[in-house]
Symmetry: D4
Subunit: 148 residues, 8 copies
């Protein structure tokens, strides 16, 4: 068995690297959004031309990023969504909604302080983890049956 | 033409009433989540029995609320998602993701201060409004062709 | 809001009547399989001609019953599956699998003695109840927001 | 032609090995659930933390197992579901319901003593076999046209 | 419970009338193709202009008839396909294939002389009947649980 | 039998009125885009605020119009697309593509001068008519079997 | 570009070999039903045990053959259905209906004598050919743009 | 990450070559329609026999071309549609509609002179570019995160 896993959400800590490294002996292909914050914000105007209005500046970028996000989620078997300490991270919750509606297996990753605020997202998930290594353990168990 | 509209998101102001009242001469049926905050939080344990853990307390409630939310979004032609001043409102962004993945026409309603943080959600929407009366105007135009 | 509810599973107690009576003031239409055990077993051969083999006797009946079951589940918003004291009730678990794969809101109804054996079915459900009146309370809450 | 086959159900006899060995010259990739009973029961708490309640202990495990099961069934061309002598095996019947609703080719494998109880499941299948070697013969015929 | 039933196939005997009359006390809405053979053959050229080639004459008509057939099958809960004594009736078998692929409940109606030739079509059906009154009995049982 | 028909395309002649009037004795409900050219062009900025750039002015309007178009096409049994004398009418061809991909019965209405340029669109249609009264005749035949 | 092509229908002439040989320089993978008539008729009872009734003898075989047919059609880009001189070939028309409902590109292959009887099937096809070499020419053109 | 990109629309300039060459270091497989105008127009009659009527001449060709187009769009992650200077290019807008309805990521490529006429098509796109090199930049960013 092989898995395709999409890693959505927070881009300011190294949680993706922890998961990818921890799972490097498993038959998994990982996809992610572009995690360079500035590139992600400005890709639209950098390629398609500048906008006076911040709203359309953001729109152009968000739609180009959606090409990658849409493909990543649609082809995934498992979507992991990480909610971090900072920012509102509505795009993470949006991705979780997309993944849920498409019938993907959803794993949510967040600290206990967000438990109540994320209860609807968690309720759509097959696992709620606090630490990246737990996600690795889940993926290892799913693929090999081995427990930590 | 008639429309089914689901009103998702913030439950602490009267934006739903403004829209429903403003559109009361139109052929629209509105659905919403349960907007009584306490009932929404406690429905799970009130019906299915108490839990020691807040996590499972929340889970039981969120899953019962999902029965209503899922049906409301699946049957809607248009899903309006409102982001307010307070709380993290991840459930609103999650609903927007579900609506988007199901191919629903999405209208997002929020103040200008959330524009950058909501850019991915806005990019999936057919309209981004700031005021409930704009949503009424959109619905009126869609159904009758009349502009304000 | 109105709901379509399909009541699947055990046919030897009056749980369906309890739910239908308890919810008679709500805007719900209920469907069920044929609950006359003998008619359900023999409908195939009674209409399409006798079979020497019990296997084909059963097959003919099960396929005619599937016309009703399939339509009931496909059109439902909510599927309630009841597991009772007796028999193996594999058809109930099969219906739950169908409902889950079709994205229906699933409510499972069974006593605590079956908790471990039904863990995979329960894990696909939005609510696990022990008593028919809890199902009524869930439906009432979903439709009206009222708690018991 | 190549086939993907998911082997669902009973985990206490060597029927999977018999099928996989019997079909080892055919172009088939097999998937299965985790068949280590203890690991399967405890994976949730082993990875995500212990629970006081057996209900949530089971829930956590069943949901992690669902990641593997869901992927296995969704990607399969053929789903074989085995009902054995022991236990209630509601998860097997649930998997059969999922496979049926997803339009998978279903093969059911059980002894004659379960024929009446499994009539609804059998009625959704394209073949009902008693012995694992019959499943091998079906797969061989489907891929090569050769009969035993 | 109400049913939508599409009556496909042979148009030279009164089998549709027998079923509709026999079921007139049941909550069923019936649809059928246009059963006027000449109108059905010539509708294309009568409306859209004559063709020199019989092939395109037939094509124009068949495509207009497809508007009705497609809608009838797509909206049906049950599709009954009748194979009669005469003609090749490939359109009947084609309709059965469409109904099967769309997951409709299929009832096939034909005499025993066609059993071997129709084995693939019958194998996709939930009931194979010889007489129109058996179809009525099936529909009555499905809706009311009453046996003949 | 009843039909839902969406009338897409050219908005500068009275072809919609001709069809609706001609079919007024039939059980058909018609939907159309907003056919007031100015309202259709300006709805976005009139409701959601002015834009300096014509591109975003157009975008805002086109997306609001898409709420109506999407719903109209998705709920239709039959989509009629009219190509007139003037303008490029890419939105008409776009609607035809959407209708085709959704499996709707497509009727294309245009003069012979556009035959070669519309060959790909016509090839996806079940009927290609030149005059609105032919569309009425098709709808009448589909619903009643009567030929002109 | 590569293509998957399923060759359905008549099994008594060498039309499949003609197509496969003619296209052997193209990037196409072909699938077909089992074309050994006796094996195809008897596979059910040979593997799953004899039946007294010819009806169930046929059923068992047809359902095992459906495992191969279903997979072949579902994974195909193009389905070619051949109608020959002999037999009623309802299974060929059934396969064409399945292919059409699944949105596959359908090519029908038959002599001019069947044109009127096959008009509904032809009307669902993207090409109607008389000779296997025409099918090869179509496939070659689709893949390479080269005309004969 | 790898991408499948379908290049639809104008066939009289070298825009496809510019994109394919510009992206030759990226993990992308490109598909296109047959871009030989004469072959594309005449493929139907060249293979399936001549037609007296230009309408059916065109139909035969357009349907064979649809085999390639349909497969190209259905398997693509991204569909780029180019509108050029000449012709009406309704097939390009039709392809855009198909791509949109199938949920593909749509990139539209056209000069500023077509902005108003293409507003509905653009409104369904995730990016609107003027130059082929912008499409290359988008694809490079989507796959690698690198900006120009």
């Amino acid at each position: 068995m092989a898995l395709k896993v999409y890693l959505s959400g927070e881009i300011h800590t190294d949680w993706r690297d922890q998961i990818i490294n921890g799972a490097r002996d498993l038959d998994i292909s990982f996809d992610s959004p572009v995690t360079d914050h500035d590139a992600s914000d400005d890709c639209g105007v950098a390629i398609l031309g500048r906008e006076d209005s911040k709203f359309w500046h953001d729109r152009k970028g968000a739609q180009i990023n959606a090409i990658r996000t849409r493909r990543g989620i649609e082809q995934a078997d498992v979507v992991v969504v990480r909610f971090g300490e900072k920012y509102r991270q509505w795009n993470a919750a949006f991705d979780a909604g997309v993944a849920s509606a498409l019938g993907k297996s959803l794993i949510v990753l967040h600290g206990p302080e967000h438990q109540h605020a994320l209860k609807e997202v968690d309720a759509a998930a097959l696992a709620v983890a606090e630490h990246p290594e737990q996600v690795v353990q889940i993926l290892r168990y799913v693929l090999t049956g081995a427990l930590p």
